[in-house]
Symmetry: C2
Subunit: 80 residues, 2 copies
C-alpha cells in the first residue's frame, strides 16, 4: 500500500532518517539489530530512515537510546 501521509519525506523527517542511518552505519549496526534494540518493528525503522514517518518523541528516545545517544544529540546530528 503506498504511503499517502502528508508528512511523507518532509525535509526534517528526511534529515532525521539520514542521521539515524549515518549513526547506525558508523556503529556497524544493522537495521534489524537497531529495531531489536529499540523494540520496534524493522519495517517501521526502515520507514523512519526513509523519512516516511513523523516519529513521536517516545519512539525517538527509543531509537536514540538504541544508538547510545540522547534524543537531543540525535536531533542535533540531524541539524534539527
Amino acid at each position: 500500500m503506498p504511503n499517502l501521509s502528508k508528512n511523507r519525506q518532509d525535509p526534517a523527517l528526511t534529515s532525521l532518517g539520514q542521521a539515524i542511518r549515518r549513526v547506525r552505519l558508523d556503529k556497524g549496526i544493522s537495521q534489524e539489530r537497531l529495531a531489536l534494540l529499540a523494540e520496534l518493528d524493522r519495517s517501521y525503522v526502515g520507514r523512519v530512515e526513509r523519512g516516511d514517518n513523523n516519529v513521536a518523541l517516545l519512539t525517538l528516545i527509543k531509537l536514540a537510546g538504541a544508538l547510545g545517544m540522547h534524543a537531543s544529540d540525535l536531533l542535533s546530528e540531524a541539524n534539527l
Copy 2:
C-alpha cells in the same frame, strides 16, 4: 473525556512539557500566543505542557521554533 492514552504523563513527556512551559514563561509568552505562533490549537499546547501527549517530531519542531529554539535545544533543556 478523560485521556486514556497509555503514554499519558510518561516521565519523558512530563519533562518535555515542563521545559516548554519554563522556556515559554521565561520569554513571557502566554500559552495562547505560543499556540498561535506554532499554528497549533491552544488546548493541544496545554496537553503537551502537562505531559499528556506523545508529541510528533514535526510538532516538536513547530513548538521549538515558536520559542526561538532548535528542537535539539528544547530536548536538551528537558534533559532528553
